[in-house]
């Protein structure tokens, strides 16, 4: 397949390769590209154009989703630097972080047992705001200090927190069902 996929995701959207990006510009560039390549623009053409357009639109979606979410953006930046975030293999975490994780889990369990939707939603918002703080830390590590090992460790932590978030959301869904 003749695809100009040599560009990395940042280049595709005309953005500098950095953790802190202008989200509005990302949105705008994404939409400009989709306006050109989306299958809806090719529905009246031949099979070949349709297939090419699907591949391009799929690629643009993949690139956009990767850059849109802070965790995947950080992981991708590290990948471009040749740094493996070892999220599956490296489970060594600072004791302090593990303690905090246990406390989170206890709080989730308690809210679950009490069937307390308001409490659970509170946890949801608290977790989000903690994650946002960590994203600020990623700006420092990745963009200012180029501390890729440090960033890699933080990505592993965020992955833990994301899982907590999923647990909270799943519990909320069950409570409301």
């Amino acid at each position: 397949m003749h695809f100009d996929f040599s560009k990395n995701h940042f280049e595709l959207f005309g953005l500098p390769s950095a953790f802190h990006i202008d989200m509005e510009r990302l949105d705008q560039a994404y939409r400009e590209i989709q306006t050109l390549v989306h299958p809806d623009k090719f529905a009246h053409l031949g099979e070949q154009e349709k297939r090419l357009s699907m591949q391009w639109a799929t690629h643009a979606n993949e690139a956009y989703q990767t850059l849109k979410k802070p965790l995947s953006r950080a992981r991708y930046l590290l990948h471009l630097q040749g740094v493996d975030t070892e999220e599956e293999s490296n489970t060594a975490m600072p004791a302090e972080f593990l303690m905090a994780q246990m406390e989170w889990r206890e709080a989730i369990m308690e809210a679950k047992e009490a069937q307390d939707v308001a409490d659970m939603e509170q946890l949801h918002h608290r977790l989000r705001s903690e994650m946002r703080e960590q994203h600020q830390e990623l700006v420092r590590l990745l963009d200012d200090q180029a501390d890729y090992q440090g960033a890699s460790g933080l990505v592993r932590k965020l992955k833990f927190m994301e899982k907590l978030g999923e647990e909270i959301d799943a519990a909320l869904e069950l409570m409301e069902a």
């Binding site: 003749h2 595709l12 005309g14 590209i33 809806d40 090719f42 009246h44 053409l45 031949g46 070949q48």
Partner: protein, 620 residues
Amino acid sequence: MALLQIAEPGMSAAPHQHRLAVGIDLGTTNSLVATVRSALAVVLNDENGRSLLPSVVRYRADGVEVGCHAMQAQAMDPQNTIASVKRFMGRGLSDIADAAHLPYRFVDEPGMVQISTVAGVKSPVEVSAEILRVLRQRAEKSLGGELVGAVITVPAYFDDAQRQATKDAARLAGLNVLRLLNEPTAAAVAYGLDNGAEGVYAVFDLGGGTFDISILKLSRGVFEVLATNGDSALGGDDFDHRIYCWILEQAGLSGLNHQDARLLQTHARAAKETLTEHEDAPVTAVLSTGEMVNLTLTTEAFASITKSLVSKTLAPTRKALRDAGLTVEEVKGVVMVGGSTRMPVIQRAVGEFFGQEPLNNLDPDKVVALGAAIQANVLAGNRSEDDWLLLDVIPLSLGLETMGGLVEKVVTRNSTIPVARAQEFTTYKDGQTAMSIHVVQGERELVSDCRSLAKFELRGIPPMVAGAARIRVTFQVDADGLLSVTAREQSTGVESSVTVKPSYGLSDEQITQMLQASQEYARDDMLARALQEARVEGGRLIEAVEAALQEDGHLLNEGEGGKIAAKIEELRVAIAGDDHRRVTQAVEILNHATESFAARRMDASVNKALAGHKLEELES
């Protein structure tokens, strides 16, 4: 702007004849067809001026009736008169909760349930095709020509099997499907373009048998679906059924025959509709046994018997908002779609949930068909003054069965389509040469709680020690929300791959057979039609390629131009002949000859857009 012409190669030449395209809302209760005429979306009426076609099909020994006539025969011939067939699309018998209460003679087939009628065993796909065929004929008569294609709407919450079944039905009805479009998205297009809406909107779509909630962000010509949720087995029919049960209970009836059951069901629906305008609804009927039913359903009684149904719409609404990462306060407007949103109980519940009056300024019965028509017009290649972009999502996660009957999600719900994801698996036994792959859809952890879409085996894996093989399974979801799966062994460089369509889908041969079997086409007609279609496609391809050559000739490689020109000539000769297979073959050859040229053009157009982007940045 030059960039758009690349996306629509045929457009830069002479002004085009308007291509006839329609939008079809294939509803549980009613179906409609609409088109864009003189830049205005209109619903097409039948010869009696009716726009709604009741989605009822009656099979007779000597023919088929669709619509009003079929509906009138419902009480008289319940077994052969199929209503609400949409509920059976892509469903097995075990999925139909109330099968025992329905008058049909179901046949339990693997994949999709079938119905035995006086005209033989029919699949829901065939029944739906009858409805679509009537709408196609209505459109062709009204527009005076053959359709280039159609946009068919589906509930956003339809899974892959239901979507595939709908697309098959359309093909069976002789329609070229330009796109399967989600109903709430179609409504948002009609509403948004009409009202110049910007911001986050919720589309609350309660039809006869399905419920969807979609959260969309509308901005500068982009309709972006942020999240969707729903229940593909919840609709006005369920409200009717609650009233029906209430009638039986109040009147102390049981063991009714099919005719009486149908009669009371009709009264139940009438009572529901009366309550839209009135405080009370009388229910009076005389049964075949001579028994009298004389009741009054009050608004309060109705609210209390349907309370749980109403709350069944609010739970998915909450989920969709959470998936979109939004709160109720961030929703600027709530667009009501579907005839069932006329119910005051629904209006009130939605208004209370969102803390604002729902928007009812578009006809909830027609807005989906109108939106589909607007989109069909653009997809058919008719130039539109202002261009817009629809970014839709997949409603339910797609995954694979792993050890222990657990689901490994590969594509998560609410991913923007088209989307592709790959996952690697390995063998668990030494020398294992085959692997069975089970594709499922749903949010639950256990395979048994999800919908099984397809099972297939990847064979010819070279024998290796356990864990050494690398099997890459790729899911590709296209812009219709339809999935295809490819599996490939890659550690040895030996590749075996297989692409499957979910097992509920009909194969192309089956569709062709059914088309031939249908009474509409004699064999000669089939051939003439095939030739006509092939010629149109061939002509369009030549037009497109020539425009591309004119515009981007500089992208040709050495010798490529001459080769393409020769293939164009061959196609012209084939079109002048009368063998549709030769035309199709020549189309394929020309397509093949232009493959890498087309890819280069696409890359160039994206690069050009980006270059323009960088220029803007320099200027700003």
